[in-house]
């Protein structure tokens, strides 16, 4: 067991290292000069030279890479060229905002998705299954921004019951926050809800045909106990493993949603930063998002290893 954990840990560290190289290379391959962008149209050559030195951009690439990594390890994340703020504070602020939207979406997608998945698998072949599965299938085929646009049209414009855009922090006003939350969360959770439903369904179907379920039934246990206590628990395993990657998907999904609903989160930060070639912001934010995904996958893998010994031998 310990060997398995160590092996997985080691692999994750290598992955993180590769991520840093990838992000660094990608960032520095972008066309455009960040200093010129930052200084704007009135930049004199002296100013350009001065700020290039100031941001350390005149150093050879490997030096810049190592000073970035060094900073990371010491918790120093550098300064944003466009926002003129410390990346750490900027990132935390934006992250808080994004998490306050993606976390509810994540939970809703997971909970409702599993419930729907169970319902459809239990009622396989019947109308309930047919309807819900069809909705799920359409759901994963629907672009989130399209749904977003439609919802804005109906609820914000025509019915005027929800705000068109914007974000209110829950600390500022709970009702304001909840109102701003509704549309983005619906849009964000849609895709994942649908795929979770499908996953749960197929996973449940596979589990339900197993021997131990037949045994449980023959023991005279109620159907409810059989489904929820035995089948679901086992069916959840592949779903949980999927969740690690789902984090990455949700964060990526927020780029479009935040742009549509004018939400000042990580997604819109990334969009602006990539456009402005704001090195520090993009490098660090991408790194931390990837780190989160890797850690999530690592945790899930370890848990999976604990639950299912066969995996450890792989």
């Amino acid at each position: 067991m310990a060997r398995y954990i160590l092996k997985r840990l080691g692999q994750s560290l290598i992955v993180i290292f590769i991520v840093t190289i990838m992000v660094f290379v990608l960032m520095h391959s972008l066309p455009g000069d960040p200093v010129k962008i930052f200084l704007g149209d009135s930049a004199t050559p002296e100013q350009v030279e001065y700020y290039t030195k100031e941001f350390g951009l005149d150093q050879p690439l490997y030096v810049q890479y190592f000073s970035w990594i060094n900073g990371l390890l010491h918790g120093e994340l550098g300064r944003s060229i466009t926002y003129k703020l410390d990346v750490k504070n900027l990132m935390l602020q934006r992250l808080a905002c994004t998490v306050s939207i993606t976390l509810p979406a994540f939970i809703i997608a997971l909970v409702i998705g599993v419930i729907f998945g169970v319902i459809t698998s239990v009622n396989r072949g019947k109308p309930k299954d047919y309807v819900l599965t069809s909705i799920a299938n359409v759901g994963i085929a629907t672009p989130s921004f399209w749904v977003g646009i439609l919802l804005v049209y109906v609820f914000s414009l025509k019915l005027a019951i929800l705000p068109v855009q914007g974000y209110v922090s829950p600390t500022e006003s709970l009702t304001g926050y909840l109102k701003c939350l509704v549309l983005p969360v619906i849009v964000l959770s849609l895709g994942h809800l649908a795929s979770t439903t499908r996953q749960t369904r197929s996973s449940m179907l596979e589990v339900v045909s197993q021997d131990y379920i037949r045994t449980a039934r023959s023991k005279g246990l109620s159907e409810k106990t059989v489904i929820y206590k035995h089948a679901l628990r086992n069916a959840l395993i592949p779903i949980v493993t999927m969740m690690g990657g789902a984090i990455g998907g949700l964060i990526g999904g927020t780029v479009v949603i935040e742009s549509l609903f004018n939400i000042p989160g990580i997604g819109s930060l990334m969009l602006t930063a990539i456009t402005n070639k704001d090195y520090m912001v993009v490098q660090n934010v991408t790194f931390f998002i990837s780190l989160a995904v890797v850690i999530a996958n690592l945790v899930v893998d370890i848990l999976y290893g604990v639950i299912d010994p066969r995996i450890r031998v792989e």
Partner: protein
């Protein structure tokens, strides 16, 4: 046989009525002329020129000759000027929606561009301002004396004014700020040779050379920060906050999201400001801005110029459109070809002229802007002092275009790139223009650029066609110079700089007699547009419209200058 004849007649009738309908439609479209500013649609692109206005000219604008949005939206209107009769109410927060996104909010030497003005003027003031007719009046200066011979300008400052941190506004503070501007390389102070503090409230500014626009350059475009606050808190703090003499103080700044202001208790005009605070909400998408306005989430849209936005809001009840009628702060949008490089087809003037003949600019502008944009064919608002009626311009004549191309050696046409922003009018117009250019053999491949890339093109040059944003205030020496000068700040690297044009520019700048200056400016219009087609084809005039609910009173939105307003006089009637 009979059937065929009837069908033919019917189709002919349809065609005829269609043509007749089209004709009258385009006429009525052209009559409602409203101009806008480019900057907002292309979210923070270029239109941000450092705008130095010229001598005030009461230019007869579009609003005299043609019905404008203000008159179309009849019902509950309340002109911003008639405040005196109603009693003002204090309190409340004004929510303003805007597409402009400042990178910093309080460190004024770094705040450039027209579009930042409506933020800056909440917390800062300048020495001079304008009245609604475009005449220069004092704001922080109560009087001034110009001496063209020395050359110098002496300002007498207002007394009893304090910065928001409680320190005094005086000549030393002015000198400190001017020197800071000079240190930061701002063009407004390039012409300043030395500064003498005569006494606490008198300051003499010695110029390098006399320029007719010196007073306004220094008076209107320079703002004053509290030296104490800057030295105590540092530049970084000032960037995220404010320390001016203006009616409000920055209380919160989230770049790209919002700017919050609260009342300045130390403001030097008693009784003002009326509002408790102002909240700017920044929108990257104009449709979202429009929706938010309709839903009442914002009370005012500043710098609203997207034609779809204006078109949608025309029929909306209870709102007013405020535009500038004296011509100050006007901008134009056009299509400019790259002419710097010899190998570029647009190097030859025949090709540039062909570009102008090849496209039906009138119908593109009128149909894509629902008739809301006013056309111009030169560097001036039609009807203004430096608008030359004798400029011939270019009619829609694809045959002539082909002739010119053949003359220039491009009988088989050529390929080029048309850079454009991805949204709204620009994207649509670019596609329409590209389609028409294709018909004369010019293949203009469209390439979408974002605000950053756009800025880059404007500053460092481009190859092909790009949108031309220009401040078209009457003083050509000032405004056109920034593009025409060989080392100009805008678009200069992408175009050629004909010697005779540069010479004429110099003469305009040093002209001491106003009438001679105007004569030369008119000559310049003809030279640049009819002779050289140097800046390609201007499409439309753009003076920002501020859109507000009628319960927003005062504020003088765009009254004195298209890009400014008076935050101190604004109040909410609800």
């Amino acid at each position: 046989m009979k059937k065929r004849i009837i069908t033919l007649l019917l189709s002919a009738a349809m065609v005829v009525s269609l043509l007749a309908g089209c004709g009258s439609a385009s006429e009525s479209n052209a009559s409602t002329a409203v101009s806008e500013d480019a900057a907002t649609t292309a979210a923070s692109v270029s239109g941000d020129e450092k705008s130095n206005s010229s001598e005030a000219t009461s230019a007869s604008s579009s609003e005299e000759s043609t019905p404008t949005l203000t008159s179309v939206v009849a019902v509950d209107q309340d002109s911003a000027g008639n405040l005196e009769t109603t009693s003002t109410k204090s309190g409340g927060t004004l929510n303003i929606g805007t597409a402009q996104s400042p990178a910093v909010i309080g460190y004024v030497p770094e705040l450039t561009g027209n579009s930042m003005m409506h933020f800056t003027r909440c917390a800062y003031e300048s020495l001079t301002y304008y009245d609604n007719d475009g005449n220069i009046i004092g704001q922080l200066a109560k009087d001034w004396k110009e001496d063209p011979d020395e050359p110098s300008i002496t300002f007498t400052l207002l007394e009893g004014v304090k910065f928001s941190d409680g320190t005094d506004f005086n000549a030393d503070a002015v000198k400190w700020n001017l020197e800071l501007y000079k240190e930061k390389g701002r063009s407004e102070t390039n012409n300043i040779d030395s500064i003498e503090v005569i006494d606490d409230y008198t300051i003499k500014i010695n110029l390098v050379e006399w320029q007719s626009s010196a007073l306004e350059q220094i008076g209107f475009f320079i703002f004053y920060m509290s030296p104490t606050a800057v030295e105590k808190n540092g530049e970084d703090w000032v960037r995220q906050n404010s320390c001016g003499t203006g009616p409000y103080v920055v209380s919160g700044f989230e770049q790209g999201v919002s700017v919050s202001y609260v009342k300045n208790e130390n403001y030097h005009i008693a009784g003002e400001p009326y509002l408790d605070g102002i909240e700017f909400k920044i929108f990257s998408d104009s449709t979202t801005l429009e929706n938010a306005f309709k839903a009442g989430e914002v009370d005012v849209i500043t710098y609203g110029q997207d034609c779809d936005l204006l078109n949608d809001l025309i029929s909306f009840n209870g709102i007013s459109f405020d535009g500038c009628s004296n011509g100050l702060g006007a901008e134009s949008v056009g299509l400019i070809p790259s002419s710097a490089d010899e190998s570029d087809p647009f190097y030859k003037k025949e090709v540039r002229q062909a570009l102008c003949y090849a496209v039906d600019w009138d119908s593109i502008v009128s149909s894509l802007s629902y008739g809301l944009y006013q056309r111009t064919n030169q560097w001036a608002v039609p009807g203004s002092e430096t608008y030359n009626d004798e400029v011939v311009g270019y009619s829609y004549d694809p045959e002539k275009a082909k002739e010119l191309l053949t003359e220039a050696g491009y009988s088989d046409g050529f390929e080029t790139t048309l850079y454009t922003m991805s949204s709204g009018f620009y994207n649509n117009a670019a596609q329409a223009i590209s389609a028409q250019l294709a018909e004369v053999g010019i293949t203009a491949n469209i390439e979408i650029v974002d605000a950053t890339k756009g800025n880059d093109l404007m500053t460092n040059g481009w190859t092909g066609l790009y949108w031309h944003f220009a401040s078209i205030g009457p003083d050509l020496g000032l405004y056109m110079g920034r593009h025409l000068d060989t080392n100009g700040a805008y678009y200069a690297k992408g175009i050629q700089h004909p010697d005779d044009a540069l010479k004429l520019l110099g003469e305009i700048r040093t002209a001491t007699d106003h009438d001679i200056k105007v004569e030369k400016e008119l000559e310049m219009q003809k030279l640049i547009y009819d002779e050289y087609a140097l800046f390609g084809m201007p499409l439309y005039v753009n003076s920002a419209k501020h859109i507000r609910y009628n319960y927003v009173k005062g504020g003088e939105f765009a009254a004195a200058d298209a890009i400014s307003w008076s935050p101190a006089t604004c109040w909410l009637d609800k």
